[in-house]
């Protein structure tokens, strides 16, 4: 219920909330007072189509999830030092979706808590400290995770890179170090994986040490909606394990059936991680997350004799909600739905690409899609200005999108799983209209500036790493 005017809310927020916590659309932020399915409503009752909130996985305020949460809240909510059915049933269910090696669960409250525990398990199990993470990857807001998240520590005001942290290139086949403009497509996965081998070898040479862990999202979100190429993870896991490390699949943003075909995005590849972390969609907005690992890793942790206690982790309410999310995905065939609608979305975006030259690449699987905006299809130079213009204009049209990637030029779509074909049509039609505006604006600008434009500059074929701006202030991203 709204009790303050928007102006009052802004004033109190300015006064009492740390300004490091940033709003979407800072120049004209949204006050959202309710939500249903894939729609959010502001204080005037105006609806916005939510294309980015992967947390509201089965749809905002899904009645079955709310019911499960409320019933359990009014019955019992306590810690997991008491036996309870919800936690064990949730664990059984999670394990049933995974390869059989992944069989031991730890429940926590957030994806960050999950990744922190995953790293701790890896350190204890391997006895090593060196961690490989990817360029522009983000794994959470905790100290241990800022330290391995290039997306954060690489910012001008971020902490110094730790000696034990190693950054490998993002396996982006479009604008990455290795890409399909200059490299043989079938080799790209292996080329990126070789970097991991080099890091392992260097650690051995320089420190005389083995590896602790390789951690990566199974598809890269902050990295720019990147889907790693075939043979990447297969080779990476081989190199990391040969160096004594374990492999962590971060499924916090991309898991729980978003890709449609599988429950987990890593299942697209022929790999079995040693540790999987999951979060955001798990509670449809409720703080619940988990770490699932092998018996061997769990036993190493047990053998330290140090108890692991997480006050709210796996409490009956969190697990009732997680179980209801599972039920809903199954009952409403949301994985199949994600496949069908996702394919329609991808095809429709590919059609847009044919019409609009500023779209350099369209990629996706299930309801995880990225539209890469470039200045020139040949140079593949990122066009951050156009991407943010589009997002800003789409917001005026009541469609919520955002940008991601190191150059903030990738428009991301990872909507609640109930996103419909009609929603796709709304998004694509509106995008088409705005992209026409963009072209019109550019043509205007071209006619104004043609005298000063360097001829031929736009036809250079990409050969090297594109001109990235690593460390581009994350603040830019909130438009």
């Amino acid at each position: 219920m709204e009790t303050l005017t928007k102006k009052e809310t802004i004033a109190l927020r300015d006064k009492f909330i740390g300004k490091s916590c940033q709003l979407f659309f800072r120049k004209d932020p949204l006050k959202i007072v309710s939500a249903k399915g894939q729609y959010m409503f502001d204080e005037r009752g105006d609806a916005y189509l939510d294309c980015i909130n992967n947390v509201a996985h089965v749809g905002h305020c899904h009645p079955a999830v709310v019911k499960a949460g409320c019933e359990q809240m009014s019955t019992l909510n306590t810690n997991n030092r008491f036996l309870h059915d919800n936690i064990v049933l949730c664990a059984q269910r999670l394990v049933s979706t995974l390869p059989e090696e992944l069989e031991v669960c730890f429940f926590v409250n957030s994806g960050s808590e999950a990744n922190d525990l995953a790293l701790r398990l890896a350190q204890i199990h391997t006895g090593n400290r060196h961690v490989i993470a990817l360029e522009h990857a983000y794994h959470g807001h905790l100290t241990s995770l800022i330290d391995i998240s290039h997306y954060k520590f690489n910012l001008p005001g971020g902490p110094a890179q730790r000696e034990y942290v190693h950054v490998a290139s993002c396996p982006d086949s479009y604008r990455g170090k290795f890409n399909d403009a200059k490299d043989e497509k079938s080799k790209i996965g292996e080329l990126y994986a070789n970097e991991i081998k080099d890091i392992c070898d260097n650690v051995k040479t320089k420190f005389g040490e083995g590896m602790c862990a390789y951690i990566a999202e199974s598809m890269l979100s902050c990295g720019g909606q990147v889907i790693p190429p075939p043979n990447y993870f297969e080779n990476v896991y081989r190199h990391v394990r040969a160096a004594g490390g374990v492999c962590i699949a971060d499924e916090v943003q991309v898991g729980f059936g978003r890709i449609g075909k599988h429950w987990w995005a890593f299942q697209q590849y022929d790999v079995v991680p040693d540790i999987v972390t999951m979060g955001k969609p798990m509670g449809n907005g409720h703080p619940v997350a988990a770490v699932i690992t092998t018996r061997a890793v769990a036993n190493s942790f047990l053998n330290t004799g140090v108890e692991y206690f997480n006050t709210y982790g796996g409490n009956p309410v969190s697990c009732a909600i997680a179980n209801a999310v599972f039920d809903t995905i199954e009952k409403e065939n949301l994985r199949e739905h994600a496949l069908v609608v996702g394919e329609y979305l991808l095809d429709s975006c590919q059609m847009l690409k044919k019409k609009h030259v500023c779209i350099g690449d369209v990629r996706g699987v299930g309801l995880f899609v990225g539209i890469e905006i470039v200045k020139d299809r040949n140079t593949r130079e990122a066009d951050y200005e156009t991407a943010t213009y589009i997002v800003s204009r789409m917001k005026e049209e009541h469609i919520l999108l955002s940008v991601d990637g190191p150059d903030c030029n990738v428009i991301k779509l990872k909507p609640p799983m109930v996103f419909s074909k009609e929603n796709v049509e709304d998004v694509v039609t509106t995008l088409d209209r705005i992209l026409k505006e963009v072209r019109h604006n550019k043509e205007e600008s071209f006619h104004q500036n043609r005298a000063t434009r360097p001829i031929g500059a736009s036809t250079e074929v990409i050969k090297e790493t594109p001109n990235r701006k690593p460390g581009l202030d994350a603040r830019i991203k909130s438009i």
Copy 2:
């Protein structure tokens, strides 16, 4: 709702939940299926009086809290990148209970996330790294917190102590390094604080560096229900600040009016922390926690340019629940209630002490009470066996207690705030009966063993640090 037999629940827990997550009463764990107020109910409907769950602050499943949570869950639950009234009203309310310097809030999901952020803020603000924490203190399950929690890293299987972590003695006036058996009572606070000065001086000498932070619970929970003596914090804060550090008050376990007289336990002392962390009781079981700091510290964080985003932190449901907890504390006068019932509890336990020699010390404030079990009142030697026997017997009598402190000999009481005088009478009457059993058992044992008992051993007056067993495996604690 129970869907499995207790045996089945245990079997699934064994199979799917990491064994580092331990149950209370491991030999005969409880399956709890519902709870109300200060009572928990097992699968047979048997009631247990909950004397330890400080999370269920206003009583398990309080209807006003459940109602607030459910209404908000069915309306909106999203991240704080959108404006919302609940978060700003919650922040305003938290700030209103604190000294005016503490005015900027960050919302997170757990006390652990709060303490991690507090340390990060301290590091950024001071530019230093050296942290002082207390002996046997526990600040959370995250890597950064295990590293500063002597209670964890000091275990045989714990991680090595980090160079930047410094452990000061627990300011325990009964069995600590300085105590009222050998030191002038009015000087004890200063004596313990001098240790902090020494650490700061040593850091300066050895590393040429200033301090980052001093972190302590305002009353020590895992440390053994310890209430720091007068002039302790006042002197500590002075020393730490003189060395360039900030002072963090960890109110995760002891805050939200538990002490009755004040909202926060640090307010018993004449100090204003730079950072306060709060958690457990805040959501009455729901994962919500907060960090509140000064404008200066928040500005240092802001000036890094690194955004802080916590997916669920400060979401409308978490804040609706926190606001309802506040409302309930006020509407039901729970702070005054904690004062009155707490005093009755303390007096009743003091009466028990007069009757039973195994009680060495009774201490408390509000609904935070510790009963220290000793082998001998003169030596003050910890009696872990008797303490755990009592807790185990009390459980058979359906009263839930547990032990804390480095020697696991302090019986702790920190019940939900709705704990009544009748509950106190039940606890004390039952304790009295069990303590008689203890005496009877001991007399039996004495008669059996008198020939071998070293004469005079029990009359030695305490002069030195009592014979602690640092690093006593935490597993022992779950009986």
